[in-house]
Symmetry: C2
Subunit: 270 residues, 2 copies
């Protein structure tokens, strides 16, 4: 049992929870909670840490069995209660935490090329709120989006709060983080024939009167400032979402959700 | 200028920021930020607190003018920087904060009866996340909902985080907080002819294939547990939102937004 927060493993978990730089360098991140760890694909699980006593509880036994079924070689470590508390990013830790490898997706994965689906993408520019980002990944799964493209000045996708609010979708929705967002948008338009839409004051057509059955990508900007001029100027088309009252904008995750579900509606075969 | 955090006014602001009980007893809450305070209707403004120096900045002068135009009798207090920091609920205070009266809405306000619109309601049962609640109020304005009904075990609508995330919609969307949610739902159905919908596993019809042009209310449950059995059993009809992948549910504010915007779409006159 690990009984000291001075253990290198524990210090590393704490660093990975706190620092995007460490996560990026090691290509590892932390997933916390019984249900969340149960959703991690076996091949990505590196180590699982359980608070002392958990492994011998009925819930713990079935959890460990489930983990070993999908990841027979995973390291399982027992950790003293106070050490677990120090490792945890949550106020009321559930007593289970895993060290997880980042997946490596390509632009073609995000475009859904292997699934032979028309691209259905969300592009996030400098999104700052972890809850918004997590919710967008989660809704992307629900709406059947092919993937998400995130620029490198957005909040880190692998931060504990984002991971939590994806509710496991982070493992199922292809995503890439890109330095040169403008370059990628041009590539989407010119090489892959994707129509890239910006919700924008310049938009004169309502989103639900447009056709998203072909390859489509929706750009969502920063919560306070929206899309930058540089990026919104690259849009293939502008669109607008109707708003009553005196509202100036919708929450970023709400706007993304309406666009993704409109796309889902247009493409559905029920 | 107020220079001490021992001032009764300051102690009261801090209490109002921290305690739902105080807000409820005094029927007052705190709104923070230049833009947010500018959106408070004049008749609700009780006092405005500005950090020292703000009133003499160019931005401060035009802000004070705007406040006095709409609320000529409002008390404006200057506050020392350290005191302002202690009063503020935010990490980087903007230097403006107001003490605001709660509005008193009736069930008829929430139903939109005076505007002669068919009711378009959201009913929140034990919603816990302040960001979700604020986002739902904000989207309700955008989608032209007539009002929001919140049960008393939900997160407090007047908590600083909820108020912030409504982006001013809290002043424009009629809302009531009710003890007996079951009783209110029965009243909506039996006295006002409102169809009350629950997104539920029992739902077999997709939300976008149903008719929400008549008086409609959408029930949204707790983030972890959904609607209680007691409340979901009162629904006039169940509905479902399609979900791809392995997702079990959507975020509460996303589900509410899709339902409100579907209603908006069906009722629109463009």
């Amino acid at each position: 049992m690990i009984t000291s927060t001075n253990s290198n493993q524990i210090k590393n978990i704490i660093a990975l929870n706190k620092k995007a730089r460490e996560r990026k360098a090691q290509r590892l991140f932390v997933v916390e909670g019984i249900r969340a760890v149960a959703e991690v694909p076996g091949e990505l699980l590196t180590a699982v840490f359980c608070v002392e006593g958990f492994e011998n509880s009925p819930e713990g036994r079935s959890f460990i069995k489930e983990i070993l079924d999908k990841a027979p070689d995973v390291v399982i470590e027992e950790v003293a209660t106070n050490v677990f508390k120090a490792m945890s990013d949550t106020v009321t830790p559930q007593g289970v935490l895993a060290l997880v490898k980042m997946q490596e997706f390509t632009l073609e994965d995000v475009l859904g090329i292997k699934q032979a689906k028309p691209a259905h993408l969300v592009i996030l520019e400098t999104l700052q709120d972890p809850g918004n980002m997590g919710t967008i990944i989660r809704t992307a799964e629900g709406a059947g989006a092919t993937g998400v493209i995130i620029n490198s000045t957005s909040v880190d996708l692998y931060s504990p709060k984002v991971v939590r609010s994806t509710m496991g979708s982070i493992f199922r929705v292809p995503h890439i983080i890109v330095q040169d967002l403008a370059g990628v948008i041009k590539e989407l338009e010119n090489q892959y024939g994707v129509a890239v839409y910006a919700a924008h004051l310049k938009g004169y057509r309502y989103y639900d009167e447009m056709d998203f059955t072909g390859p489509s990508a929706f750009m969502i900007g920063n919560e306070g400032n929206g899309l930058s001029d540089e990026i919104s100027e690259l849009a293939t088309s502008y669109l607008k979402i109707p708003m009553e009252g005196q509202l100036e904008s919708l929450n970023a995750s709400v706007a993304a959700s309406l666009l993704m579900y409109e796309t889902h509606r247009q493409r559905k075969n029920r």
